[in-house]
C-alpha cells in the first residue's frame, strides 16, 4: 500500500498546491487532500483554535482534524519567507507549533522550513530531507523538486488574465485562501459573476504589474502576500480599467488591517474609485453579503449610466 500524505486545503495551499501535489506524486506517494471547507470543518476549527486567531487560521485547525484519521503524514510546511527580505504573517510561521500544541493524536507532521532569506541551497536541502522519508534516491527527489517548481510556474502562468472592457470589472482584493475557498468567501466570486461582473484578483496580475503598484508604497512592505494585494490595488487604481474594488479581509487578519486602511484611504481621496471593504468570519450571513454586493454593483452601474 502506498504511503499517504495529507495536505490541508487551507491557507497557503491555495498558492502552492500544484507544486506540493506534484512533489509528493513524483515520489510515489498518495496525496490525500482534506475536504473542501464546510460547516463541520469550520466548527471544529473554531472550537480548537484560540478565540483571537484569525478566521482562516481557525479553519485550518478544522482541516487538520479532517485529515487526522485518513493519512500517515500531514504536510504542514513552516513557511517563513517566500521572497528574499520579505516574510509571511507570524501566524503562518508558527502554524505547525500551534497545530502541534492544540490538536492531539496527530499523525506525524511534515514541517520543512521554507525560508527564502536563506540560500537556495538550504531550500533544496530541506526538500531533500523531506523526500528522504519516502525514497532513497536523491536523484528522484531532485527531479520531484524541479517538476514541482515547473508545475507551480505553469499554474501561475495560467492564472494571468487579460481583462477586456466589455463588461463591468471588479477587483477582489484579498488573500487567495479566502477568495478561492468558496465556503469561506460565501461564493463571493460566483455571486459577482452571476451579476454579470468580470472579476479579477491579485493572482490574475503579472509580477511586473504588482511591482509597479507596490513601488508606490512609501516604504517596501515586508509581507509577501499582502504586498501582492496592495500592489494589485495601487496598480489598478492607476490604470483605470477597473470599475470597482472590494477588499475582502478575514476577521483578525493583522496585516490586512493595515494595508486595508492604506488602500481605503487612498481610494477615498479620489472621487473616481468605488471601494468597499468586507470582513468575513464564522458569523457572516449570506443574505447580508448578497445585499451589499448587489447594492455595490447597482451603484456603479447607475453612475456609469448617469455619466
Amino acid at each position: 500500500m502506498k504511503v499517504k500524505v495529507g495536505i490541508p486545503k487551507s491557507l497557503l495551499y491555495f498558492h502552492y498546491y500544484p507544486a506540493w501535489k506534484e512533489f509528493f506524486q513524483q515520489l510515489g506517494v498518495e496525496v490525500v487532500e482534506s475536504d473542501d471547507s464546510n460547516q463541520s470543518i469550520i466548527d471544529q476549527g473554531v472550537k480548537l483554535a484560540i478565540d483571537e486567531a484569525c478566521f482562516p487560521v481557525k479553519v485550518s485547525h478544522g482541516h487538520i482534524v479532517n485529515l487526522r484519521n485518513k493519512v500517515d503524514y500531514i504536510f504542514l510546511p513552516r513557511i517563513v519567507s517566500v521572497v528574499k527580505n520579505e516574510y509571511v504573517c507570524p501566524k503562518l510561521m508558527g502554524l505547525p507549533d500551534m497545530i502541534r500544541n492544540n490538536i492531539s493524536d496527530l499523525p506525524q507532521l511534515l514541517t520543512p522550513t521554507i525560508n527564502h532569506n536563506q540560500s537556495w541551497f538550504d531550500l533544496l536541502g530541506s526538500n531533500l530531507e523531506l523526500g528522504a522519508k519516502f525514497t532513497d534516491s536523491k536523484f528522484k527527489i531532485m527531479k520531484a523538486h524541479w517538476q514541482a517548481r515547473k508545475a507551480l510556474r505553469h499554474h501561475r502562468q495560467n492564472l494571468i488574465k487579460e481583462f477586456g472592457r466589455d463588461r463591468l470589472t471588479i477587483a477582489l482584493l484579498g488573500h487567495a485562501y479566502l477568495l478561492e475557498d468558496k465556503y469561506l468567501s460565501l461564493g463571493l466570486k460566483d455571486k459577482l459573476e452571476e451579476l454579470g461582473v468580470n472579476v479579477i484578483t491579485p493572482q490574475n496580475l503579472t509580477k511586473k504589474q504588482i511591482d509597479r503598484g507596490a513601488d508606490k508604497l512609501s516604504k517596501p512592505l515586508f509581507w509577501t502576500f499582502n504586498r501582492e494585494i496592495i500592489g494589485a490595488a495601487y496598480y489598478l487604481f492607476e490604470c483605470q480599467e477597473v470599475d470597482g474594488f472590494i477588499q475582502l479581509a478575514a476577521f483578525g487578519c493583522g496585516p490586512d488591517s493595515l494595508i486595508g486602511e492604506l488602500m481605503e484611504r487612498k481610494a477615498k481621496r479620489r472621487s473616481d474609485i468605488h471601494f468597499m471593504s468586507l470582513n468575513l468570519d464564522e458569523h457572516t450571513g449570506e443574505a447580508g453579503l448578497e445585499t451589499r454586493l448587489e447594492a455595490f454593483v447597482d451603484m456603479i452601474r447607475w453612475e456609469a449610466k448617469g455619466a
Binding site: 483554535a49 484560540i50 483571537e52 486567531a53 513552516r78 517563513v80 527580505n85 520579505e86 516574510y87 509571511v88 504573517c89 507570524p90 501566524k91 510561521m93 508558527g94 505547525p96 507549533d97 500551534m98 500544541n101 492544540n102 522550513t113 508604497l217 512609501s218 516604504k219 512592505l221 515586508f222 509581507w223 479581509a249 476577521f251 483578525g252 487578519c253 493583522g254 496585516p255 490586512d256 488591517s257 493595515l258 486595508g260 486602511e261 492604506l262 484611504r265 487612498k266 481621496r269
Partner: protein, 366 residues
C-alpha cells in the same frame, strides 16, 4: 522644529533627555489618558493592535500642542510594528495636520545607511555632542530599568510595599533634571538605600511572578493597568522579561540575536515553538520555561488584542503550563479592558498561586 515621539512606559524620560541634549525643541505628548485612547480608536483601523491606536492618540495630542515633527522607529517585519509609521502618516495626513514624520529604520548591515537617517540632527552637531547626548540618555534608560527591576523585587519583601513605590517615584521625578552621568549613578544608589531603610521582612517567602508578552503593553502601565504596581502591592515579587534598554539594543542594533542569553531562550522554547515568529512570541514561550526553571510561582502573559506573534504564543502556553505544572495567565488588552474585571482576574490568579505555594510548603491552605 518641534519634535515629538510616542509614549511607551518610561521611554519619554530618556527620549526627552537625548533630544534636548541635541539641542532640539521637544513637545512631549501629554500623558496617555482616556482621551488619547479614544482619539486613537476613532481614527485608527479597527483591527490594528492597541499600540498603534495609542500612538495615533499621542501624535494628535502632541500636534495639537504645537509639535511639527514626529520621531518614530521602524522595522522590517514580520510584526506589524515595522509598518506603523506608514499607516499613521496617512491617518494624520487625512486629518489635515501639517507635520513631518521621521522613521528610524533599524540597523541592517550598513552603518552609512543607518547614520544617514540622523542627517537632520547631524547638520548642526559634532560627533562629540551626539556621543555625549546618547551616552547620557542611554545611562538614564539603563538606570531606570535597573530601578524598576529593583523596585519590583523589593515590594515583595517590604512590610509596606506602597512606600517602596513612593521612593521609586521620587527617583523617577529626580532623574529628568540630572545631566551628569555620575550624579545619575549616585541617585540610584541613594534610591536603593532609601528602600533598604524601610521596614523589610527578609524572612518572608513572597510569591514570584514573571511577566512576558508584547513589549508595548508590558512597558506601558496605561495599557496594563499598572500591573507591576498592583501585583507588587499585593506583596508579590514581580520580574519582567523585557526592558526598554534590551529592546533598543535588540531592535535598533540587533545585537542580542546571537547572544548567549538569546540562545538560552531559544533552547528553552524549542520543545514547544521551534522558530521565531516575529515580535516577542518566541521569547514569551522561552522565558516562561526559564521562569519555571528559576522557581517562579506563575507567569502572566500580556498582549494587545490581535497581536500576531503573541497569538501564536498564547495558543501554545496552555500546554507549556500543563507540562510544567505552573499557572500561566494570558491577559489580552484593548480599549475595552475594564479595570474591575481585570483586578478580579489578577486576585484570583494570585490566590491560586498562594494556594499552590501552601500545598508545596505544607503550610496552611486557606
Amino acid at each position: 522644529m518641534k519634535v515629538t515621539y510616542p509614549h511607551m512606559g518610561l521611554m519619554n524620560l530618556s527620549a526627552k533627555s537625548l533630544l534636548k541634549e541635541l539641542g532640539l525643541e521637544v513637545v512631549e505628548p501629554p500623558p496617555i489618558t482616556e482621551r488619547t485612547l479614544n482619539l486613537g480608536v476613532k481614527h485608527a483601523p479597527e483591527f490594528a493592535c492597541l499600540p498603534l491606536k495609542i500612538n495615533v492618540g499621542n501624535y494628535i495630542e502632541a500636534l495639537e500642542a504645537g509639535a511639527d515633527t514626529i520621531i518614530m522607529a521602524g522595522g522590517s517585519g514580520p510584526c506589524r510594528f515595522g509598518y506603523y509609521g506608514e499607516v499613521q502618516k496617512e491617518i494624520l495626513k487625512d486629518l489635515d495636520y501639517d507635520f513631518e514624520m521621521i522613521t528610524f529604520e533599524p540597523f541592517q548591515g550598513s552603518w552609512s545607511n543607518f547614520l544617514q537617517q540622523f542627517k537632520f540632527i547631524f547638520k548642526h552637531l559634532s560627533w562629540w555632542n551626539l556621543w555625549s547626548a546618547w551616552k547620557l540618555a542611554w545611562t538614564k534608560c539603563q538606570l531606570i530599568d535597573e530601578a524598576t527591576e529593583y523596585t519590583n523585587r523589593m515590594r515583595g519583601y517590604a512590610v509596606k510595599p506602597k512606600l517602596v513605590t513612593e521612593v521609586y517615584e521620587v527617583f523617577l521625578n529626580r532623574i529628568e533634571d540630572i545631566h551628569e552621568i555620575e550624579k545619575l549613578h549616585s541617585a540610584i544608589v541613594e534610591m536603593k538605600n532609601q528602600i533598604l531603610d524601610l521596614k523589610i521582612d527578609w524572612q518572608k517567602e513572597p510569591l514570584k511572578v514573571g511577566i512576558v508578552g508584547e513589549i508595548y503593553v508590558v512597558l506601558e502601565p496605561f495599557t496594563n493597568l499598572n500591573l507591576e504596581k498592583k501585583l507588587g502591592e499585593m506583596g508579590v515579587v514581580v520580574n519582567r522579561s523585557i526592558y526598554l534598554s534590551d529592546w533598543i539594543s535588540e531592535h535598533l542594533f540587533s545585537t542580542s540575536v546571537d547572544s548567549e542569553e538569546h540562545q538560552k531562550i531559544e533552547a528553552a522554547a524549542e520543545p514547544y515553538l521551534e522558530h521565531f515568529v516575529g515580535g516577542h512570541g518566541l521569547e514569551t514561550i522561552g522565558r516562561t520555561v526559564l521562569y519555571n526553571q528559576d522557581d517562579y510561582d506563575g507567569v502572566i502573559q500580556l498582549a494587545p488584542f490581535t497581536c500576531m506573534p503573541e497569538i501564536v504564543a498564547e495558543s501554545i502556553l496552555p500546554k507549556v503550563s500543563r507540562e510544567l505544572d505552573m499557572p500561566v495567565l494570558s491577559l489580552t488588552l484593548d480599549e475595552h479592558t475594564g479595570e474591575a474585571g481585570y483586578i478580579t482576574r489578577l486576585e484570583a490568579f494570585v490566590d491560586l498561586l498562594k494556594r499552590k505555594q501552601g500545598l508545596k510548603t505544607g503550610g496552611q491552605v486557606i
